[in-house]
Assembly symmetry: C2
Homo-oligomer: 186 residues x 2
């Protein structure tokens, strides 16, 4: 029975991820999540309480699963950026969930405990690399981290061919090169 | 009568902008737009046809009003980026509308005629500056433009104080400095 409950919870998590990533918080429908996970609305409400709470649970689960996949390599920030980009390419749901949360709940939505802890760790590593002179201190550590987080959202461009399979690799190289230029000590 | 119709259309445009910026396409409610603009649902459907068509009309109107506010200055790309950032700060609805469109309709949503024409004009100006050696050709013109468009979305950072009134000015300087580093010829 316990294993069944865990399997059900996992199926709900997957269906909820797909639903929230596609439709956002307001647009998500619990009955579609129930149908897609072979459960039912009552069970979802029993497990999670509400649609908003389910969204939070999905977010926290994603964060705890993937947050430490890409440890900061402050001595090689271009490589760090490239691996963050790879992670976004691998999990397009992730960036959609974060974007919906920011749009629907405001910029504070993503300021939650585990995210802040991971963020502070990254800042500390970058600060250390700056003190060692390996990374430029033209930008503060926080600004540099935010510049990287902005750059990894680089779009392919309006005239890019959607069928071009080499396009993500070119974008990855551009991000690495851009971060190298920003982080290079003077 | 004609002036009345124009005034009504303008009020609907403003109410629809606020509603779509806040709730997105799926989340927007025509009855709230009707109430906020002092019109009624039937009138909105008569003018615009459907909620989707109203969203398109709002988008095209925003584009035609603001697209040429920030002409590209290819010889001074940092200043171009700073002025784009100012425009985003001035019209936060704009970036929200674009983000909703991309989330709800996919990345092709913003590939519409007037946007593409303006985009091509910017590319051409950057290419010319590259040929003149004023701008680095390490990145293609399109990649450089997309890097700028990514950078102007720079977030203040998770540990930034939301009450800090100097924060946007610091972000503006960081964007200028970052673009200068990317565009600088080798």
């Amino acid at each position: 029975m316990k294993r069944d409950a865990q399997a059900t919870r996992q199926r709900i998590f997957e269906a909820a991820t797909a639903e929230f990533a596609r439709y956002g918080i307001a647009g998500a429908r619990i009955d579609r999540i129930a149908a897609a996970s072979g459960s039912n609305k009552a069970m979802i409400y029993t497990y999670f309480g509400s649609k908003d709470a389910l969204f939070n649970a999905v977010g926290v689960e994603w964060i705890s699963r993937n947050m430490n996949d890409v440890p900061v390599t402050a001595h090689d920030l271009p490589e760090f950026a490239a691996r963050l980009f790879d992670q976004y390419q691998k999990y397009p749901e992730m960036i959609r969930l974060v974007t919906w949360a920011a749009l629907e709940r405001g910029p504070e939505a993503n300021r939650i405990g585990p995210v802040l802890i991971s963020y502070q760790g990254k800042l500390q590593a970058i600060r250390q690399a700056q003190e060692q002179g390996v990374v430029s201190d033209r930008f503060s550590a926080e600004t540099l981290l935010e510049l990287i987080l902005a750059l990894i959202r680089l779009d392919p461009g309006l005239t890019a061919d959607p069928a071009d399979r080499d396009e993500p690799a070119r974008r990855r190289r551009a991000i690495k090169e851009a971060v190298a230029r920003l982080a290079q000590p003077d």
